[in-house]
Symmetry: C2
Subunit: 324 residues, 2 copies
C-alpha cells in the first residue's frame, strides 16, 4: 500500500525539529523544541513526545514510518548508536525506545546523511549522482552520494567529514582528536573566535549582537555581524571559509564530485563563507575543480526533517517491495 505520510525527526545539539511530510516533500505539520540538556532518556522522551504530537489525528495506515536523524555515528544495519560527540546517546537503543511507545516502524541514521538525502530528493542536489554534502552546525557532518545512492561505508559509520584532519597538531576537537575540520568550523570554534574579538574595541558589532555580554557571543552572533559587514566578523568567517575550502580541495582531488552542497545552520546563513571556499577550490584543486559546483543547501532547517522522512518512505517501500 502506498502510504501518504512519513514523520521526519532531526535531532540536533540545540534543537529537535520534526515534521509530518507528504511524499512530494511538503511538510504539512511541524514541531520544534529545544534538545533537553539532561541524560539520554530526556532526549529520547522529547523525541517521542514530538512524534506523538505529529501523529494526532492520523490513521496508522496512512503512515509509512518515522525517520530519525541523530548527530551520531550510526551502525545503519544494526540501527545502533555507536558514537555521539554532542549528545549522550552512544550505546542508547534510540530506535527500540522510540518504537516501544510510537508503534510504527522507526529508522535512525546519521543527520548529515539525512541532510544529504533531503537535498538529493527535494533540494539543491536533485539529480546529482556524485556529490558531497557538508553541514556546518554545532557539529560538522555530511554525507556522500555515489552513483546516485547514499554511501554510508561498510557499516554506516561514514560521513563524519567534520573529523578529517586539516592540521596535524591543530586545536582540540570535541571528539578528542586534534586539528579536525570541526575544531575550526563548528559553532563552538566560531563562537570562541567571536568572543575573543568581542572583548576588543574593534569587536563592538559582534558584542552588540550578543546583547553586550562577551560570554554570550555565539556563532550566530558572529554571522549576524558579518552579514551586516562588520570587518572583524567577516574576517573570522572568511578564515573559516578558507579552512573549509582547503578541506574541500582534498575531497575534490579524492572523490571528483560534481557538486558540493554546504548546509547546516552556519553554512546556510553565510553565503560569503561558502563563496570563499569555492574560490579556494577553484585556485588549488587539481583537474576536478572544473567539474565541481559549490552551492548552499536549499532546504534550510527542513533538510534534516525532509531527509529523515525520505528515509522512512524509502525503508517502507523497500519493505513492501515497492520501487520509486
Amino acid at each position: 500500500m502506498r502510504t501518504s505520510y512519513a514523520v521526519g525527526v532531526d535531532v540536533g545539539g540545540q534543537r529537535i525539529a520534526a515534521g509530518l511530510v507528504e511524499r512530494k516533500g511538503r511538510i504539512v505539520k511541524d514541531k520544534r523544541t529545544l534538545t533537553p540538556k539532561g541524560g539520554p532518556f530526556a532526549v529520547v522522551d522529547a523525541i517521542i513526545e514530538t512524534v506523538e504530537e505529529l501523529l494526532i489525528g492520523l490513521h496508522p495506515s496512512e503512515l509509512a514510518g518515522v525517520g530519525i536523524g541523530l548527530p551520531a555515528q550510526i551502525d545503519f544495519l544494526r540501527q545502533s548508536v555507536e558514537y555521539c560527540t554532542n549528545l549522550p546517546l552512544a550505546g542508547v537503543d534510540v530506535r527500540a525506545l522510540v518504537m516501544s511507545r510510537v508503534r510504527h516502524e522507526i529508522t535512525i541514521d546519521n543527520d548529515g546523511h539525512l541532510a544529504a538525502l533531503g537535498e538529493f530528493r527535494y533540494g539543491a542536489a536533485h539529480g546529482a549522482r556524485d556529490f558531497l554534502m557538508i553541514t556546518l552546525g554545532t557539529g560538522v557532518g555530511g554525507g556522500l552520494f555515489v552513483n546516485g545512492q547514499p554511501y554510508r561505508g561498510s557499516r554506516g559509520l561514514g560521513g563524519e567529514i567534520g573529523h578529517m584532519v586539516v592540521e596535524l597538531d591543530g586545536p582540540p576537537c570535541p571528539c578528542g582528536g586534534k586539528g579536525h575540520i570541526e575544531a575550526y568550523l563548528g559553532r563552538a570554534a566560531i563562537a570562541a573566535k567571536g568572543r575573543v574579538a568581542a572583548a576588543t574595541y574593534r569587536g563592538r558589532a559582534i558584542l552588540d549582537e550578543a546583547g553586550g555580554v562577551v560570554d554570550e557571543v555565539t556563532a550566530e552572533a558572529v554571522v549576524k555581524a558579518g552579514l551586516k559587514g562588520d570587518e572583524l566578523a567577516v574576517r573570522i568567517l572568511m578564515d573559516a571559509g578558507e579552512v573549509l575550502g582547503h578541506a574541500l580541495v582534498g575531497f575534490v582531488n579524492m572523490l571528483n564530485p560534481q557538486l558540493i552542497v554546504v548546509g547546516g545552520g552556519i553554512g546556510e546563513s553565510c553565503g560569503f563563507m561558502v563563496e570563499r571556499a569555492a574560490e579556494v577550490i577553484a585556485a588549488e584543486a587539481l583537474a576536478g575543480r572544473r567539474d565541481v559546483r559549490v552551492i548552499q543547501a536549499e532546504l534550510g532547517n527542513d533538510a534534516g526533517i525532509l531527509g529523515a522522512a525520505a528515509l522512512a518512505f524509502d525503508e517502507h517501500d523497500s519493505r513492501e517491495g515497492l520501487h520509486r
Copy 2:
C-alpha cells in the same frame, strides 16, 4: 571470444614496468625500463617499445587488450590525461599515440586506481567491498572501492589521496598546493629529510646507504637504514607513519572502510611505518576504527601491472558483452 592474455603497463615517475598477464593473474613475461627523462614523446615511445616487446610471438586474437596506468589524473570516459605532476603527459593523447602503433585496444587509467584494482582482483584486497588503497611512491596516490566496484568519481579524476590537505599552511607539494599528504610522504619528502639527517654525525647509517654522498640520499636509502634499525631513519619513517595515520583517521571517519591497503614502493617496503599508521587510527578514529584493517599490499611492484591487465580484461569483456 574468451581471450587468454592482457598486457598491463605501469608507468611510474622512475620506472615503466609491464607484463603479459594471464586471466588468473600470472605474469608470463615481463619487461622493465627506466622512465625516460625527455619530453612526452620519449615516455610514450618507451611505453610502445615495452608493449611491442611483450607482444612478440603472440597471435592478436589471444590478446584482450592493453591497460596502461599513468601517474596522472585521467578523464576515464574520454580517456584523456588531465593533469600529471611527475611526468610531462598532461594533455597528451597517450591512448591514441600508443594505439596508432600497437594495434590493440588500449585503456588508460590512474595508476593508484589500477593498483587498487590489482590488489582487489589478485591480492590483499580480494573480496573486500569497501576499501581504500594508498600508494606511497614518487607520488602518493590511491584508489577507492565502493560496493565492490572501483569508484573513480564523476569523471574519473578521483583517487588523488596524495593531494588532501593535512596541514593548512604546510610544506609545498609538487602539485603547487601546500600541506598535502604527498608533501610528507612522497619520495622527495622522505629523501629531503634523509639528506638533512645524513649531513649530521648521527646520520652515518643513512649516508652509508647512499654511498657516502649526501646529495644521493634517496627515500629508499632512508628505508634501508630504517629496516636495519638506524635510529634517525626509523624516526623519519615513524614520523611519516604518523602523518599517514592522521590522514587515514579522516578517511576512516568519512568513509568507514573495512580495509586500507598501503602499497607503492615505499609503503610496501616499510612495515613499521604502516603499523605506526594503524596505531594512530586505532587511537584516534571514531567508531569506524573497529571495522578497519590496515595492511600492506601483497603484489609488490606487480600491483600496477596486474591492475592494468585486469582493466584490459574487464574492458574487453564488457565490449564483448561477457560477464566475469
